[in-house]
Structure formats: C-alpha cells, structure tokens
Amino acid sequence: MSTAADDTMVRAEGVHKRFGSLEVLKGVDLEVQRSEVMVILGPSGSGKSTFLRCINHLEKINRGRITVDGTIVGYRQKGDTLHELKESEVARERAAIGMVFQRFNLFPHMTALQNVTEAPVCVLGQSREKARTHGRELLDRVGLADKADAYPGQLSGGQQQRVAIARALAMKPKLMLFDEPTSALDPELVGEVLDVMKGLASDGMTMVVVTHETGFAREVADSVVFMDDGVVVEEAPPEELFGNPQHERTKRFLATVL
C-alpha cells in the first residue's frame, strides 16, 4: 500500500532461514522491480533455491520479511506483531505467483491440457470451457498446441517444462519464479525452454530466475545477483557483473562457470 511499493514487486529485507541448526539464509536483502528479470547465480548450497521458495511461502522464513506487490508474504501485520495467515489466504497469495520447478512436477495422471486447466478451475473457479480455451492458447504460446492431449510421460523433458510454464501462466501470475528450470534437461532441450522464457521476459513479465545459464543471464536479465553462503554477495546489471565483478568470490565463481 505504501508508495514505495508501487514499482517494487518483490522486496526482501534481512531474510534468515534455518533448517534445524543449519542456517541457509543469513540476511538476504533484495528488490525486484515490476517487469524486471532478475537472475540469481551462485554455487550449490548458496541458498538461492531456498530464497526463491521463501518468496511464495513454500518455506517459512525465520527472520526478516518478504513483501510481494506491497503485501507481506505469509503474514498480516497488526501494529508491531505479525499474525500467520490462514491456509486459504496463503493459497490466494501463492495463486498470484507462478513457479516452475527443476523437475517439472507435472501431474502425471493428467494430460498437458488438464495440467494447465486444473488450477484455474479448481482455485480461481473458472468455467471448464473458459479454462480449456485459455489453456489451449497457452499451450500454443509455448509451442505445444499439438500436445494438448498427451500425458507427461509421453513428452520430452523440454516439452514437459514448457507445459509446466504454461500451467503457471494459466493463473495469470504477476510474478514468475523459476527454480533451475533447465538443470534437469538434456543439453539439446535447454534452448526451447529458454526461448519460452525469453518470450515471457519481452512480454514484460516480472521474473526471478535461479539458473546456471549465464548466456540467458547476459541476454535477458536486467540484473544479476550472485549469492554465496546465504547472503547476496553482489548485484549488478549483467554486463557489469560478468565484465567487471567487484568481489573475489564472484570472480572465483565466474571463473569456474564461464
């Protein structure tokens, strides 16, 4: 509601996350503007996937706060105290945030089209008719119009991931989270998924992408974040971060991946 929130889609302030005694996030501060494409890089175990999962409350944070579109994720603030949101309220928040997983997580007992229409019908209460029409448009958009009636087991990894993107888009999200969307794919299938993501970016979708695809980061990202050991080490536009990294850790990491 505050004026500062107007152009900020995601704001993370001092986010801490522990799993038992293991501290995975040690104070993450980040801001993602509306229509911005942010790529998060970092070695495995740096906390980048965990941070992404905190944005839609798949993980509860232990300290700090995250707001999406000006609303605190998972809580309601009254005075100085935070109140946990009810399951239905958390679900409503999540419905507006699309997420794409490393392992696709398509529903194997449903066709591609049913995967795409399930949530709009079940969560948004759209009519089956309308959802199917919209679902076919989305499958067409990711280049899979002819696979509407195929089951996930009959699709290649790249096709499955594109269905997963269409499934997320069907909820008309204001923000899309990508958790290593191409890491489980055969190399020759990576391109088709990245192409769909580039298309989304040029349509003005706000995206936070955890990936190892530095080429995608250079080409599409507005800003690149390097995370290590639970903190943001460095954030810069891609040409700066890749061309002239400021921190020793960033340099070492880029030397290994480039």
Binding site: N56, L58, E87, S88, A91, R92, E93, R94, A95, A96, I97, G98, M99, F101, R103, N105, L106, F107, P108, H109, E118, A119, C122, V123, D149, A150, Y151, P152, G153, Q154, A164, R167, A168, M171
Partner: protein, 335 residues
C-alpha cells in the same frame, strides 16, 4: 576337445537368420511333473473313494435356502464392512499425515488400538457392548442435556455389531495401506499444487489420491478377499452368515464334514471371482509400470480365459496412457 575349439573351427552360422539352438535339458522339471501328477492322482482317488466325504450330502446342501441366504449375508457383510473400512482408512490416513500433531496422534492411537487386538475379540466386544453401556444417549457431554436415548441392545443387533467390529478393524489396516499410497507420491506433486494456490484438501483429492491409487488398489484387493473369510468369525455372535448357516445344519444332522465342504466351496467360489476382479484392476492401474516378472499360474489362466474379451473392451475405451494414434508406444515411464 573343448566347445570353444569346435566353435572356432565350425562355419559361422548364417548371420541373417535367428538363432536356433537346442534348448538346455531340464530333467528336474520332468521329475517334478511326475511327482506332482502322482501325488494329485493319490489325493483325488482318496477324496473320491472315501465315502465319509459324503459328496451326496454336499450336493444336497450346496443350494439349501439357509446356506444360500448365509452366503449372501457373508457377501453383504464383506461389502459393507469394506466400504466402512476404506472410508475410515482414507480419513485416518489423512489425519495421520496432518500437520496437527494432535490429529496425527489420534489416528496413530486408533490404529494402535484396533490393529493391536484380535478381530474376534473386537466382534465379541461390540456384541456385549450393552453390558458396558446399557443406554446410549446423544446430548452435550458433562451437562446432563440429552436429546435422545436408546437401549444399547435395541441398536446393537448382531449385524450392526458385526459391521462395526469388522469395519472399524479394517479401517486401521486400510489407513496404513492408504498412507503408504500417499507417501509413494513424489513430494514435488504436493509442492506444485501448493504453488498453484491449491489447498491441502484440494491437493489430496485432485492430485495425491488419484496417483496413490496405483499403490493402494492391489493390497486393498487382498483386504477384500481376507475380509470375506474373516466375516466367518461373526458366527461366534450368532450372526447368520455362511459359516453359521452350515453349523446350524450340522448341529442337527451331525454331518460336519460335508457341510464344511459346502461352506468351503462357497468361499472358494467368491474368492475366485474376487481374484479375477483384482487381476484386472491391478493390470489397469499398473499400466506402464508393471514389472515384467513371472506371472502366477492363476493370473496366466485368467489372462488366457479373458484376454480376447478384455482387449476388445480396452480398444473401445482407449483411455489414459493409451498411445496417441500415429505415435510410438510410450516407454515405460515412472509415473
């Protein structure tokens, strides 16, 4: 001298033709077949020639009205108890996996209690419940407010007691079967549903349960067959099921053996029907994942007997992972 030598010197077999080799001899098989044939012949001749089996009496009572009505009661009891058990099992499994520790604990306690005592004891308990609670009333606890009250003996008729005992007991076993099914579904499925904004119950109903069915169905089939036979325990509380019907008859004519054979024939008939059903249901849910192990003899028999008819059906239905026309068959995918 060695086969290797003879092979290397022999001309190479025609590369274009399939291998035609002399099969390995299996003398053990022939021996076993002879042994089984001899034993079977001995058993059959003793069964046929021993007059004390009284096959005439078996034929006389096989379709006696009380026996047939007992058999139907057994079926009815099996069906109703299984419906109660399956419903309860799903509820208990959902409770057991609830994030609320109290709810999960209550389900755990139930399973512990009902799995931990013999079902016969439970049947007897329910039939004697009137001794424990002579009057059953519905009201607000601890306030003395009472809406209505009945005598326990009026509602806990043998049938109700039997269904309660068998159904509640079955619920505990089904809960573990359903839970195993839920746990077998990949964690990512629940996350994907959550991320789409689906609630827990929507996720269970639409995403988890349909996938868990593949794991749940086969043991449930076993439970049905097991239940059919377990219902015979209700003869202890004078419920007129199949076993009770034959005991009543043989307590009058003292022809215990032929009447027990009558009951056995009925039980075998029902379990055979159920096994056939189970075979096809399992095949339906196991498509694409079924391990290609050796099939049990009876399964092969059902396949031989029913395959032609069933494949006609399958073609007409052409449901799920059926291959889309003009496409290669899907590889075995780990759904």
């Amino acid at each position: 001298m060695t086969t290797g030598d003879s092979l290397s010197s022999a001309p190479a077999p025609d590369a274009g033709a399939d291998i035609k080799a002399v099969p390995v001899r299996r003398p053990g098989r022939i021996l076993a077949a002879i042994l089984i044939a001899v034993l079977a012949a001995a058993a059959i001749s003793s069964i046929v020639q021993n007059p004390r089996f009284q096959w005439g009496t078996v034929g006389e009572f096989l379709f006696a009205p009380t026996v047939v009505s007992g058999a139907l009661k057994t079926l009815e009891l099996t069906a109703i108890s299984m419906v109660v058990g399956i419903f309860l099992g799903i509820v208990l499994a959902i409770m057991r996996l609830s994030p609320n520790p109290l709810v999960a604990g209550a389900s755990g306690f139930y399973i512990w209690l009902f799995r931990g005592t013999p079902v016969l004891v439970q049947i007897l308990f329910w039939s004697f419940i009137a001794a424990l609670y002579p009057d059953i009333s519905v009201g607000i606890p601890f306030t003395g407010v009472e809406f209505f009250s009945v005598k326990a003996n009026d509602i806990f008729l043998p049938f109700v007691a039997a269904v309660l005992a068998l159904g509640l007991n079955e619920g505990a076993y089904m809960a573990e079967i359903v839970r195993a099914g839920f746990v077998s579904v990949d964690q990512g499925q629940e996350e994907a549903a959550k991320a789409l904004g689906m609630r827990r119950m929507q996720t269970i109903r639409r995403i988890i349960l349909p996938q868990a069915m593949r794991v749940i169905i086969p043991p449930t089939g076993n439970e049905v067959i097991s239940m059919l036979k377990t219902t015979s325990l209700v003869a202890f509380v004078a419920f007129p099921d199949l076993l009770y019907a034959v005991t009543v008859i043989y307590s009058q004519n003292f022809k215990q053996i032929p009447l027990l054979i009558v009951a056995s024939i009925w039980y075998l008939f029902f379990t055979t029907i159920l096994s056939i059903g189970q075979y096809f249901i399992e095949r339906h849910y196991g498509r694409g994942t079924a391990a290609a192990g050796p099939q049990p003899l009876m399964a092969r028999v059902w396949q031989l007997v029913f395959t032609t008819r069933h494949s006609d059906l399958a073609e007409k239905k052409g449901k799920p992972p059926a291959t889309a026309p003009g496409e290669e068959p899907p590889e075995r995918h780990g759904l």
